[in-house]
């Protein structure tokens, strides 16, 4: 328990550092939010100053940061300059879309990567092993924006079997309940009206973005599983299990896999972070209405509060995931428990 409290305390400097860096960086990029807002042509100097003052951008930068910090600590992470909605409400509206995409991508990558890595480890130096390891290297090196476009070109343009963009066919109007379309399309009112067509449409829309986003994690998981498994298979206790007369499959499932999983879980947590960064590219390519696209749009518009607030929440989510991993670690490893 003390361990976790300490971890929680560690969050404070991390989040402060992220806020500071983000705050400074967005002010370093050229562009002016006020000009963006009132339009360069109609920029009457008096109006411009008035607007700048209203947004608090006329203050010296350290004062701006101080107010930002004060408001954040009071639970107000800001209001969009462009839309006048609070950053939080905009985030909440988009976050489920990213989570759904990221979750499916990571789930697919794990479901495929784990068994593939295991087989490669068991059949080490076989053709399969070499094949998997070289393809995973290619998968790992693939830039998401390029891979996403190739997928669209092939599956959507050439074969015409998948949609190019969006989360769902706009024929369907899905009431937002959880924000996860795979769940919302199962609401009784939706099913009564359209059957399972909305669900199918949501799945189709998910397919390409989750492949694009999940390719790198898949490669990482497969390679990590292989090396972790190989290490465990060489341990003395595996030999003991075999010497006790346990059959091969039991040795792998009971004695090796669980122990091999521990480093893999750490990797998964790190991958969660890369899923969010990957989402920025993937969502832009596939017009996926999630936080990645949101952040990109807010950067283009120099919407300072949204960038600051958005980045802060995302970092918070990532840091929380890492804490969750610590807890899973704790459950899996008996040595940590004592």
């Amino acid at each position: 328990m003390k361990y976790f409290l300490k971890k929680l305390l560690d969050l404070i400097p991390t989040l402060f550092g992220i806020s500071l860096v983000c705050f400074i960086l967005i002010r370093l990029i050229p562009g002016d939010p006020v000009l963006n807002l009132i339009g360069e042509r109609g920029a009457d100097p008096a109006r411009y100053l008035e607007m700048k003052k209203a947004l608090g951008l006329d203050l010296p930068i350290y004062q701006q940061f101080w107010f930002y910090l004060k408001n954040t600590l009071q639970g107000d992470i800001g209001t969009s300059i462009i839309s006048n909605n609070t950053v939080w409400s905009e985030f909440i509206e988009r976050f489920p879309a990213t989570m759904e995409l990221g979750f499916i991508a990571l789930l697919g990558a794990t479901a495929l990567g784990l068994p593939l890595g295991m087989i490669a480890a068991i059949k080490r130096n076989s053709f399969f092993d070499y094949f998997l390891m070289s393809t995973s290297l290619i998968g790992y090196s693939m830039p998401i924006f390029w891979w996403g476009l190739i997928l669209i070109l092939f599956f959507s343009v050439k074969l015409g079997i998948t949609p190019v963009s969006g989360r769902i066919d706009f024929l369907f109007d899905i009431p937002h309940y959880t924000g996860f379309y795979l769940i919302d399309t199962l609401q009784s009112s939706v099913v009564k009206e359209n059957g399972f067509a909305p669900l199918l449409s949501a799945l189709k829309h998910l397919l390409l973005p989750s492949i694009a986003l999940g390719t790198i994690p898949l490669a990482v998981i497969a390679r990590m599983t292989r090396s972790s498994m190989l290490e465990v298979l060489g341990e003395d206790y595996i030999r003991t299990a075999r010497a006790k007369g346990m059959n091969k499959y039991r040795v792998i499932a009971i004695h090796a896999l669980r122990n091999a999983l521990i480093p893999i879980i750490t990797t998964l947590a790190l991958l969660f972070g890369s899923i969010i960064t990957g989402a920025i590219l993937t969502e832009t390519i596939f017009s996926w209405p999630g936080i990645g696209k949101w952040i990109v749009a807010s950067i283009t518009a120099r919407d300072y509060p949204v960038i600051q607030g958005g980045v802060l929440i995302i970092s918070f989510v990532i840091v929380l995931t890492n804490m969750l991993v610590d807890i899973i670690y704790y459950v899996l490893n008996p040595k940590m428990r004592s």
Partner: protein, 326 residues
């Protein structure tokens, strides 16, 4: 006769050389029921490889051949994987050098013992747990019931080795291979563990192969002794006989390396801590002729010419007792 090994040869395929490495050469020995066979030799002499071969646990790169490898009439070399699983742990069990790494760190003592029992004996979960408690009690673990829930890292080395032994004997195997069971333990615990093995041998009529570095240990516990060097048996016979009158120069040198133990060995110069110069040749650097000749103080030209055969239980053309007669 329980186990009959005749002309066992083990080769390893190697990436570096085209000819396979000859790790164990022409090894023959027998074990009777209820007998303890001691095996001594430096690291790299092929002891552990032989043991793993007896359990069919060598990697795929190993090629095991033998004129005979019989366990109670079963041809071990012709067993398939499924049949092996019925031999391993059931008929032949093994305990290892380092109990702390040989037990799975993520599973409880209970899980690991019960798993073994249930794999081989037709017992319910509850019966298997009771048997596990009985076994822990037998191997001398205090409050065995509480220990069942322990993880290996919560045990001391001696306790962990007792758990290993309890696990190995849980199915009443006919042969127990103890591969340096006390090397990782301190001396007082060593003695307790070896006494436990002796009890198993005498009371349960279990046959035991005791592999060790420690000549003192075999002297006290084993009936017969086999001295291995560079993949060959260089000398074999009754333990007391060999310890008193070693025939092979290697055995003699080994015995002389014990502090203060060389008094009865006439040929050995009296120094404080005698040692054998040089090291055991690596697999790919083994010499022609007698394997020991580069380190032997009695070597002659003939020793380097051709492979020396085991004759009258010694693999040497100048056995010590013959020399000392001259």
């Amino acid at each position: 006769m329980l186990l009959n090994v005749e002309n066992l040869n083990i080769h390893f395929k190697s990436d570096k050389s085209s000819t396979p490495i000859h790790a164990v050469r022409d090894l023959s020995f027998k074990i009777n029921k209820g007998e303890m066979l001691g095996v001594v030799g430096e690291s790299g002499s092929g002891k552990s490889i032989t043991n793993l071969a007896l359990l069919g646990l060598l990697p795929d790169s190993a090629l095991v051949t033998a004129k005979n490898l019989d366990f109670e009439g079963k041809k071990l070399l012709s067993l398939n994987e499924l049949e092996w699983c019925q031999v391993r742990g059931r008929e032949i069990a093994m305990i290892f050098q380092d109990p702390m790494t040989a037990l799975n760190p993520f599973l409880t003592v209970e899980f690991q013992i019960v798993e073994t029992i249930k794999a081989h004996l037709n017992l319910s979960n509850k019966e298997a747990i009771n048997k596990a408690i009985e076994l822990l009690n037998f191997v001398g673990i205090p409050s065995p019931k509480d220990r069942l829930k322990a993880y290996p890292f919560e045990l001391s080395g001696g306790m962990a080795q007792r758990v290993m032994i309890a696990m190995a004997i849980s199915t009443d195997p006919k042969l127990l291979i103890a591969d340096e069971p006390t090397t990782a333990l301190d001396v007082t615990i060593q003695k307790q563990i070896l006494n436990l093995l002796k009890v198993l041998q005498e009371k349960n009529n279990m046959s035991i192969i005791l592999v060790t570095h420690d000549l003192g240990v075999v002297g006290e516990y084993s009936d017969r002794l086999q001295v291995m060097y560079a993949g060959e048996v260089v000398e074999e016979g009754f333990t007391t006989e060999i310890l008193k009158n070693p025939n092979h120069p290697y055995t003699e040198a080994l015995l002389a390396s014990r502090p203060g133990a060389s008094a009865h060995l006439k040929r050995i110069p009296k120094t404080l801590l005698p040692s054998i110069s040089g090291i055991v040749p690596a697999f790919h650097q083994r010499p022609l002729g007698c394997q020991f000749h580069p380190r032997c103080s009695y070597k002659t030209h003939e020793c380097e010419q051709s492979i020396i055969e085991l004759k009258d239980f010694v693999r040497c053309i100048h056995p010590c007792n013959q020399l000392s007669l001259k």
